[in-house]
Amino acid sequence: MPFVPHTPDEVREMLATIGVNSIDDLFAEITEDMQPRSFDLPEGLSEMEVLSRLEAMAAKNVTDRVSFLGAGFYDHYIPAAVDALTMRGEFYTAYTPYQPEASQGTLQAIFEYQTAMTRLLGMECANASVYDGGTALYEALMMAVRKTRKRKAVVSEALNPIYRVMLESYTTNLHIELVTVPHKNGRTDVEGLKAAIDDETAALIVQNPNFFGSINDFTELFAAAHEKKAVTIMSAYPVMQTVLKTPGEMGADIATAEGQSLGLPLSFGGPYLGVMTCTKKMVRQMPGRIVGRTQDTEGRTGYVLTLQAREQHIRRQKATSNICSNQSLCALRALVHVCALGEMGVKRAARLSIERAHMCADRLTAIDGVSLLTEGPFGNEFAVTLPVNAYEAVARLAERGYIAGFPLSRYYTDLENGLLVACTEKTTEEQIGIFAEMLKGALR
């Protein structure tokens, strides 16, 4: 059946009541040249035909590869409870209901998610989420611009290049200056960043662990930024925050994260989850929705959307952002994931991932001609320099069912032989051994 609620007779009746002859007449105001000539859509198919078409497409997916690919997105283990709970009909919807009189369950789930994210990142407030980590970072930059009334951002080149491209494209027409401070062999150049911050700087943007996997303590850098009245923004990898000094502990004003590593499958690039947290001082600049806990007239606990004067439906021209979506279902997955694992469980996942990565780094650098590209502490990801072009090495191992990692030259043209390698708790010692042996063979 077509999902159109009106019969042809009803349509005719409605048109007659309005006083027009056809549905096209309703669009007469849109001139011919502005109307799409064709949507180029094929004819409809039956459910059975659609299913077999999609199954044929899905069968082309290769799902049995051993992957050392990270670069901001990680294949962590997802407890079965995450699917079981989040697929319940009450939650499994594209539409998020916010009416407090009808949706206490949804609102409480978002509130609990916000609480979990603030604890994870050591911050004071969180919103209900945005599309993904890159969007969260752009929104964070705009928070800083509004707060400081300045229009310059100092950005570390060791920030995920995908995010840097997003920042550039989102700010193209906003007269915001992005000053990029080069990385130093994969290390975040703290001194360089410090020197680049001036009185005109609205925001400092760094990442921990950075794109190359290396770990920093930005406490001093953030203090120096605060002296110049700049807002400090850190993009964080949430799983790692259980074992690292948190953005909150370092003095970040805003901390954002890609929440994919918390219970979301890699799933070919999305949907993901943009985590946004900030200090109480910044909360009025926070875009999107925020759920708060309050009491009704009888003193019973209730959950409601709060600080809504920032939102489009209250004062459109004054809204902090035009973002009006959150990723509720993905946020719920993140919440169930951290609850199912518990604090110790997430910590354990982080520690195991780090342990495996260090084992992997030892095995790879034992190969002739392979060396660590980045000195200093790293988490579950590290960069190596190969004796050959990284794309070549990746191609050779792909033939044998192993995804070796991310060739850095895609974004850093001078690092042709640079390969970014990631491990998670799912990476086995055996896989690391095979990977090292294969790479050794491929480099001969």
Binding site: R149, R284, A309, I314, R315, K318
Partner: protein, 126 residues
């Protein structure tokens, strides 16, 4: 009812003129209409406004509303206490709840005295 020594704007701001400085806030009537204030968004020191320009906003438990600068000039001081204690505007709108000090760039024009403003509020309250 309303203090006699200050001037009023129809949009419910008040200005107390002291030499070339005007102290500006919102009236007792305005804060009553808004209810408990939760946030005052203020301009920055150094910002310049013409009389009638929007210079900030107030949020209460039930509404958000713009604040208009009743005089022309440059902001020389803001009441930083309101950042953490917006309720001061409810408690003492003509005193501790002041919002900004403006260095006048022109003599105030078109503002009302207490009696005229009283009439404005009576008309609005009905």
């Amino acid at each position: 009812m309303f203090p006699e020594d200050i001037l009023y704007a129809k949009s419910h701001e008040w200005a107390k003129i002291e030499g070339d400085i005007a102290i500006v806030g919102i009236t007792s009537f305005a804060q009553e209409q808004l209810g408990d204030l939760t946030f005052v968004e203020m301009p920055a020191v150094g910002d310049s406004f013409n009389a009638g320009d929007e210079m900030g906003s107030v949020e209460s438990v039930k509404a958000a509303s713009e604040i208009y600068c009743p005089v022309s000039g440059e902001i020389v001081e803001i009441n930083e206490d309101l950042e953490d204690a917006p309720e001061k505007v409810n408690e003492d709108p003509f005193g501790a709840g002041w919002m900004v000090k403006v260095k006048l760039s022109a003599q105030p024009e078109g503002l009302l005295d207490a009696a005229a403003y009283q009439k404005v509020t009576e008309a609005e309250a009905h």
